[in-house]
Symmetry: C2
Subunit: 350 residues, 2 copies
DNA sequence: TTTTATTATGCAATCGTTTGCGTCTAAGGA
DNA sequence: TCCTTAGACGCAAACGATTGCATAATAAAA
C-alpha cells in the first residue's frame, strides 16, 4: 500500500529541474529540449507517475467530466443510448457521470445539483416523466453549462435536442398495417401529456386519413406505458380486453409500447384470435424481447445507439463552437422492423 | 450566460470577512458565531453560490467519485447491478463514473487508467471476459485505491468480492428438473475458463450424483454464452441441433444462459417436440424476456439489484474501516423462478 | 485594573498543475 | 568587443476550498 502519490514535483526534484519544466515536457511543449523531455518521460514512468486530473481541472476550470441524466439504466432504451454516448465522448477524453432520476422530478433536481457541484463540463439528459417544472434545467443554462436533451425534451428551454421522429414512426407503422390489408386499426397510446405519444398518435391519425380510413376514437386507448415492464404488460392486457369487449373489433393494433403489444398478444392467444390473420400487431421501440415472443413482434426501431452517439456529437459541437449558439433539433428517422405479428401477405422476395 | 462563478471569497468580500470564515460558517463550524453563520448562508444563496467540489477534492485528496467498470451497460444484468450500486452510493454522497470495457482487456485497462487519473476514491468492477492478465487491477491495489469485484471476479487479487452462488444455482436448477421427473438432463455451458460456468457445471454434476443419475459427457455442450444476444440465441440453436442428432436424446436441458435456452425452445418447437412434456427447460439469469416467450422459461434468478447494493455496501465498509482489511467474499443465494417450460407436474397449491 | 479564559476570526500554507513573463546562456551578427 | 536573438528554463501566481496556528476582542476571574 504505497500511499505516497508522486507528483510532477517529485519527478522535477529527481531531475533537478522545476515543476514547470516537467509539466511542459510532459505536454511536449516546443520550448523544452528533447533531452529533458526524454529524461522527464523516462523518470515519469519509472516513478509510475499518474497525472492528477483534479488539479488540472481546478487550474483549467474544466473537469473533463460530463454528466448524463436518464430516468433509469435498466430500460433497454436508455442503456443503449448511454452506450452510444459513452463511445463517442470517451474517445474525446471525457468521463461520464451517469445518474438516474427514476422518473422523479425531485431526484432529477438533486442529480443536477450534484453534477453542478462536481463542475461537469456539460450535461446530457432525458427529462423525467414526472417533471413539469423546468427551473432546475434553467439553472444549468444560466450557469453557462452546456446542456443537450434527448428523447424526452422540452422545446421551451431553447437547447439543442436529439429526438426520434415519433410522428414518422406512427406513420410507417400504420402504413405498413394498411398495406397488409388492415382497415380497422386500433392504437394504444401512453399518457397524453407526453410529447412522444402525441406525436405517434398524430402519425397514426394522419396515416389513416391519408388512406381515407375513418378514425374511431373508441379504438384509441390510453394507458401508462412507461413503468415497470410487468405493469406495462398488464396495461396491454387490460386495454386489449377493453378493446374486444365492445361491438366492433379492430383487425390491427398499433401499440406505442412493445410490452403493451406483448400483453395484447397474450390476451389474443387466450381468446384464440389468430395473429396476424385476424388481428395484426405492431409495437414500438424494437425491444429485444420482440423477436423472442411467439409470434415475433413487428416494431418501430428507434436506433437508440445512434441517438446516443448523436447526442454526444451535438454536445461536442456545442462546446467547441464558441459562437452564439442558435439551438437546433436533430431528428432521427425510425425504421420499421417487420416480423410475423403483422405479416399477412407472404413477403415477396424482390 | 453568467460565466462568473462565485466563490467563497466573493461572499466573504460582500460580508467583510475572510474566506476561512465563510468556509467554516458553511460547514457549521462551532467556533463561528450564529450571526455570521446566518449572514453567510443567506448571502450564499442570494448569490446562488455552488461549492466547487474540485477544489475540495484537491485539498482533501478525496474526490467523492467512485468508478464502476462493467463489460456493457446494455445487458440487463449489469444495468440492474448498476442501479443497485448507484442507489446506495449516491445516498452516501458519492458520484459514479461508469465505464464499459466491452469485454475487451485493453479497454478495461485504459478505463482504469482514466479512473485513476480522475482520482476516484475507489473502484467497483466486473472483470472483462477477455482479461487474463490482471496487472492493471494490481496497479489499482498498489496505489491504495479500494477495489471491490463483483460477479466476474479473480480470487487471487485478494480483494473483497460479491458473487452469485453459481454452484447452488446449478444445483437448484437440476434438482427441480429431477423433481419434475426428468432423468436425462443435458447442460449448455459457457466457455470453460470462466469461473461462473465451471461452478454451474459443478452444481449440475453434483445434483445428478446426489440422485444417482449418470453423467453423460455427450450431453454437456460448450458454447460462447456471453455475446450479443442474437449470437447466443444462435448458439443455443446450434447446440440443440447437435444434441438431438445423436442417438439417445435427453428429456431436459439446463442452460447456463437464458438466450441459449430460448434458442433451444425455437428448435424444439420446429421439431415438434413438446415442452415441457418431452423436454423440460431451465435457463439462467431470469432475463426479462423469459416471461414473454412461449412457453415462459423457468430460470435461475441472480438478484442482480441486490448484488449491486451489496457491492456498494461492501465497498463502503471497506473504505470506512481503517483497520487492516482481510478480504472477504459475499455470496448471494440464487432463486429458481419456476415457469411452464419445466412444469411437468401440475403445481399443487398448498 | 490586570490577568486569564473564551469566543470569533484572520493568516497563510497547502492540494498538484498550468502558464505568462522574466532570466540566463551561448551562438551569431555588426 | 558589444549587442541581438533564439533557445531552454525558472519564478511565482493562479484555480477554490480547507485548516492549523495565530490574534484580536470581549468576558470572566483575580
Amino acid at each position: 500500500m504505497k500511499k505516497k502519490k508522486i507528483t510532477i514535483r517529485d519527478i522535477a526534484d529527481k531531475l533537478d529541474v522545476t515543476a514547470s519544466t516537467v509539466s511542459r515536457a510532459l505536454k511536449n511543449h516546443p520550448r523544452i529540449s528533447d533531452t529533458t523531455k526524454k529524461a522527464v518521460v523516462e523518470m515519469a514512468d519509472k516513478l509510475n507517475y499518474q497525472p492528477n486530473n483534479i488539479a488540472t481541472a481546478l487550474r483549467k476550470g474544466k473537469s473533463n467530466i460530463i454528466g448524463v441524466i436518464i430516468p433509469t439504466s435498466d430500460r433497454r432504451f436508455f442503456a443503449s443510448v448511454i452506450k452510444g454516448i459513452e463511445q463517442v465522448l470517451r474517445e474525446e477524453g471525457y468521463n461520464l457521470i451517469i445518474s438516474q432520476s427514476d422518473d422523479i422530478a425531485s431526484k432529477e433536481e438533486s442529480n443536477i445539483e450534484a453534477l453542478l457541484r462536481v463542475q461537469v463540463d456539460g450535461i446530457i439528459a432525458s427529462i423525467a416523466r414526472e417533471t413539469t417544472d423546468y427551473s432546475h434545467f434553467e439553472r444549468v443554462i444560466n450557469r453557462g453549462v452546456p446542456l443537450v436533451l434527448f428523447d424526452r425534451v422540452n422545446e421551451e428551454l431553447g437547447v439543442n435536442t436529439v429526438v426520434n421522429d415519433d410522428y414518422q414512426g406512427g406513420v410507417i407503422a400504420v402504413n405498413h398495417l394498411i398495406e397488409q390489408g388492415c382497415t380497422k386499426i386500433a392504437h394504444f397510446m401512453g399518457k397524453r401529456h407526453l410529447n412522444i405519444y402525441q406525436e405517434r398518435l398524430r402519425g397514426y391519425k394522419d396515416a389513416l386519413k391519408e388512406h381515407n380510413l375513418p378514425i374511431n376514437e373508441d379504438w384509441i386507448l390510453e394507458g401508462d406505458l412507461i413503468d415497470e415492464t410487468e405493469q406495462v404488460l398488464e396495461t396491454g392486457r387490460r386495454l386489449t380486453h377493453k378493446l374486444f369487449e365492445n361491438g366492433e373489433v379492430p383487425d390491427a393494433i398499433f401499440s406505442s409500447s412493445d410490452f403493451a403489444a406483448m400483453g395484447a398478444i397474450q390476451v389474443l392467444k387466450e381468446m384464440n384470435i389468430k395473429i396476424p390473420d385476424e388481428v395484426a400487431l405492431v409495437g414500438f421501440s424494437n425491444d429485444l424481447s420482440t423477436s423472442f415472443i411467439d409470434p415475433p413482434l413487428t416494431s418501430v426501431d428507434q436506433h437508440t445507439r445512434q441517438m446516443g452517439e448523436l447526442a454526444a456529437q451535438v454536445f461536442l459541437q456545442q462546446i467547441n463552437s464558441d459562437s452564439k449558439n442558435i439551438p437546433f433539433d436533430t431528428t432521427l428517422k425510425p425504421e420499421l422492423i417487420i416480423r410475423s405479428s403483422s405479416m399477412r401477405k407472404e413477403k415477396v422476395n424482390a
